[in-house]
Amino acid sequence: MPQFVQSVANQQTPPPYHFPGVTAHAFVIDIQMAAVQTYCDTYFNLGDERERGFVYRPFSVWPYALLMVVQYPLMINTNRTELGLDEIPFADRGYSSQNEVFLAVPLVRHGVTPQNLLLNAAIEWALPFIVVDNSTSAFSGREILGLEKLWGRIDLGSGQFPNGFSASVEIPGWSSLDPKAMQRMRRVLHITTGSPLPGVGHKSSVTSAWTMLESPIVLKSFQGLADAFDSLVTMSNGVIPTPMRLVALKQFRDAADPHRAIYQALVGARSKYYDIANLTLYNEQDVAITLDTSGSFAEIAKIFLPNTPGPATADPKVSIAAHAAFGFTANLDFDEMSTLHTFPVEGDDCASVDGGGAGMLSPWLRPWWGLINASGADPQLPNESAS
């Protein structure tokens, strides 16, 4: 591959990142398995199954998604790549901050042949809806990792109840499908909670996702996940929320024909929460999540609410029930970026093949792969689909 022509003014800050002291609020909501399967088939299971060698499916034992609101007071870029004589490494440029709202949906990925059924098995999270209020973060996430980041305004507060929580998200949108409709900032999502449940806040013993699961309310929220694993330790190692292995379809349009793709690949990254503290639990009955489904927001509603009638609904504001709601503080690292799989695209003017293969290896097998794979064979058998 050729060198990227570094241009310091392009508002990208390539990962990895360290985010100390984030405050996260998580809301466990229903998601329909059929909708998740459609999402997998549309964005991840591209082309012929045998050629690509893997398949993504919903994590059916836990039919929920996490709607998360995260405050990042410090976003520290730890990329120390030398950029050239006159340019300062990203890590030495300074820090930034942002608020982020996203929907995280767990998926199972596995191989499709006896050889790679387990080798390629993993639990990964898709993030079909992300809003950030920092444009540098939006550009970097979209262009480097293929994350579906939108830029918007995110107002956080305490709502109407003491020590409660509220979040309001505005993004640019169109109020109708009228061709003359003008884009404007519109509120797409609003979340409020009641006051925290007494007696469980600021639990000093909560230091990890595992200990957080000792809380009966949190555990209940993730019971389906727990049943699917041998132990909670195993579960916390791969599922909630430390570490979350993310998967995204990174793709770019052809300039001449924007309906044609010049590059399509699955990209993975790790989002690892640790030093979890200050667990706060909310009564899920007090949680109100309202999604505006009107106009161009109907596309977003299809992710949250696949049975939403559409933009012509009389009342476009739809309530989403929460099964659990909790907040915590943590440190967060974002790293281990990789190209999991590059899909072949047609055309001589298309992008380079960007690696792939090794990233598909199951996390449990990764430490041992060098020992058992003396031949250096690609674990992504039998896929040889690089264009």
Partner: protein
């Protein structure tokens, strides 16, 4: 054809684009030929000339930058497929408002013969700096065309002089580069002018060397300014994307061309160039942008921009801000079409990793 898969986040403004009644404010200032050549070599002349078959150079008679603030009251997409996918039949789709700040520089694209001789010069324009206040537009410009569109704030406060122009452009940036330095929305540039000149004075106010430079880059300049016929300016853009696994490597590099067609030009207004001030603020990132694209040294020995006399001088001896000498300032209203977008050249295997 491999279909691009649409999603919530890819709801970009798809080309071609049209914006009627766009208000264009242009300010012409000199840039050194060396700075333009450096930009061409860094962003356009990748690999060996004999392999790629073209070479970019400055236009010797037109070593200038055209700084523009353009207000688009209703920019829209003329792409038919998106509207059809929603069951809507229309010629125009996805209207939005934006204000854009950019610096455009004309360059010559030469064909390289077998004997490494440069022939057949064609005028194209590069946009080393472009800032918009609309995120949808920024995503589209960056991801479809490859423009390095920055997202910022562009405001038009009341002018200090009646009838004058006033624009403040801000960017998320750092005052100093240091691990403990916070990113904030910082002033990038402030533009102010005096009132429009009366017709009788306007002719004399336009710098003749500026006109000569413009005509070297826009052969049909007079006709366009008088609204008699449209003028098409061809942009050339390096479109590139990073590898996720190694951000120093590019998975795609190509030169994209896009024709910007100005028609229905009306309301031509001329300002006294001596009344115009363009002040680039002195933050670390701003200095870096100016240094990178316009080859302005960051400490001493300014070549293109002149320090403002009497301003505070910091420890680095850098001026408080840098101010280009404006040679011409005009405003006009026009319909702007961005169309005929093509991939001019895809860089493959020309540059070793």
């Amino acid at each position: 054809m491999t279909q691009f898969i649409e999603s919530v986040s890819t709801h970009q403004l798809l080309p071609p684009y049209r914006s009627e009644n766009s208000k264009v404010h242009c300010f012409l200032f000199d840039i050194s030929v060396g700075a333009i050549q450096k930009y061409c070599d860094t962003f356009l002349n990748l690999g060996e000339p004999s392999n790629r078959g073209f070479h970019y150079r400055p236009i010797a008679e037109a070593p200038f930058g055209l700084l523009s603030v353009t207000e688009y009251p209703a920019l829209c997409s003329l792409d038919q497929k998106t509207a059809q996918s929603f069951g809507v039949k229309t010629q125009e789709w996805d209207h939005l408002r934006q204000t854009e700040f950019y610096v455009a520089v004309p360059v010559h694209r030469y064909r390289v013969t077998g004997g490494n001789v440069l022939v057949d010069p064609v005028i194209q324009w590069v946009q080393p700096i472009i800032i918009t206040d609309n995120a949808t537009s920024a995503f589209s410009g960056r991801e479809i065309l490859g423009l390095e569109t920055l997202y910022g704030e562009i405001k038009s406060p009341p002018a200090t002089k009646p009838g004058g122009l006033s624009f403040n452009v801000s960017l998320p940036s750092w005052v100093v580069f240091a691990p403990n330095s916070p990113q904030t929305m910082m002033p990038f540039v402030a533009i102010n002018s005096g009132p429009p000149l009366a017709a009788a004075l306007a002719q004399n106010a336009v710098n003749s060397s500026a006109i000569a430079q413009l005509e070297a880059a826009i052969p049909d300049l007079a006709g366009m300014l008088e609204g008699r016929f449209p003028e098409t300016l061809e942009l050339v853009i390096l479109k590139q994307f990073r590898s996720a696994a190694d951000a120093t490597q590019a998975i795609y590099q190509a030169l994209i061309i896009c024709e910007n067609r100005y028609s229905n030009v009306t309301d031509m207004t001329v300002y006294d160039p001596h009344s115009v001030t363009i002040d680039f603020q002195n933050g670390a990132m701003v200095r870096e942008i100016i240094h990178t694209f316009l080859d302005v040294p960051t400490s001493t020995g300014l070549v293109v921009f002149k320090p403002v006399p009497g301003r505070k001088v910091g420890r680095s001896q850098a001026p408080h801000y840098t101010r280009p000498l404006v040679k011409m300032a005009v405003s006009f209203t026009a319909t702007i079409d961005s169309m005929d977008i093509k991939t001019q050249f895809t860089f493959r295997d020309l540059v070793s990793a």
